[in-house]
């Protein structure tokens, strides 16, 4: 059982690491390769939420206006809590974007489900604490 849990965690970690690598090279098909069609995304910029893959893709179109290929979009800390077919991942990320000086940290929570043997992302929540 323990070994099973480790395998599951490694699968999810690999999925999230390849997703972040795809973001760094602006590879949209690879970014969107492991999502559920009804994904709900809470992103750093408005709107409050983006529902479905078309809306999810638009959040990356917007992000790529501020982020150049190969610029930082890195996982600093990643904690995965996984059951048999439901999991969530909690991360501190580091990002470079043209409006902000240097790099800035942000928080990321990902919700996943296993469907037909594959882990799929059902939910992403990206945020920066609000100063005011």
């Amino acid at each position: 059982m323990m070994q099973q849990a480790e395998t599951t965690e490694r699968q999810i970690r690999t999925l999230i690491e390849s997703w972040a690598a795809a973001v760094r090279r602006h590879d949209l098909p690879a970014i969107m390769a492991h999502h559920e069609q009804d994904i709900v995304m809470f992103d750093v910029p408005p709107p409050l939420q983006s529902r479905g893959m078309d809306a999810y893709r638009k959040t990356w179109d917007l992000f790529f206006k501020y982020h150049k290929p190969s610029q930082t979009f890195d996982i600093e800390e990643l904690e995965i809590t996984a059951g048999e077919d439901v999991a969530f991942a909690v991360a501190i990320m580091r990002c470079v974007a043209s409006q902000a000086p240097g790099w800035f940290p942000f928080r990321l929570t990902i919700g996943l489900r296993k469907i037909d043997g594959d882990w799929r992302i059902a939910h992403e929540h990206h945020s920066v604490p609000a100063e005011d």
Binding site: V44, R107, E131
Partner: protein, 147 residues
């Protein structure tokens, strides 16, 4: 009915736990809120710092003290994805009420929870609350958005 909770679907159990948690938020009952959290609870709050670890009863009490009377804390669009021992859920929360500085709050924010079932009881292991930020260079909190 000792077996009721064993047969009750996970989603219904979680919905009832979230009801109890939001009632504690509305009543400004810090102990009632913290009772639903794990000891290693990781919080991403809508205000700094970036993250806190462990139940933060003092922080809640300080925040509750900025409100006059009950807090309006209504959950909309709650989605729950659960299996036997792990779950996550996400929702929009409508926060309303009067602050002790005389101002009125009326804000929609996003909430994601990561849950673990411990000793037969669903607990909140992770909470992530945020508002979007305007990307016009100001990074102002977008507190005027409606779903």
């Amino acid at each position: 009915m000792p077996n009721q909770t064993l047969t009750e679907p996970a989603e219904a159990q979680i919905r009832s736990m979230i009801d109890s948690w939001t009632q504690a938020m509305r009543a400004k009952d810090a102990a009632g809120v913290v009772a639903h959290q794990t000891q290693d609870f990781v919080q991403f709050d809508f205000a700094p710092p970036l993250q806190t670890v462990g139940p933060n009863s003092k922080g809640l009490q300080d925040w509750f003290a900025t409100w006059r009377g009950e807090i309006g804390y209504e959950i909309a669009d709650l989605h729950i994805i659960a299996n036997d021992g792990i779950a996550f859920c996400y929702a929009l929360i409508h926060l309303t009420g009067s602050r002790t500085d005389g101002s009125q709050s009326d804000v929609w924010f996003r909430n994601t929870l990561g849950l673990r079932k411990i000793g037969g009881v669903w607990k909140i292991a992770h909470g992530h609350e945020s508002v979007p930020l305007h990307m016009d260079g100001s990074f102002r909190a977008a507190i005027d958005l409606k779903p």
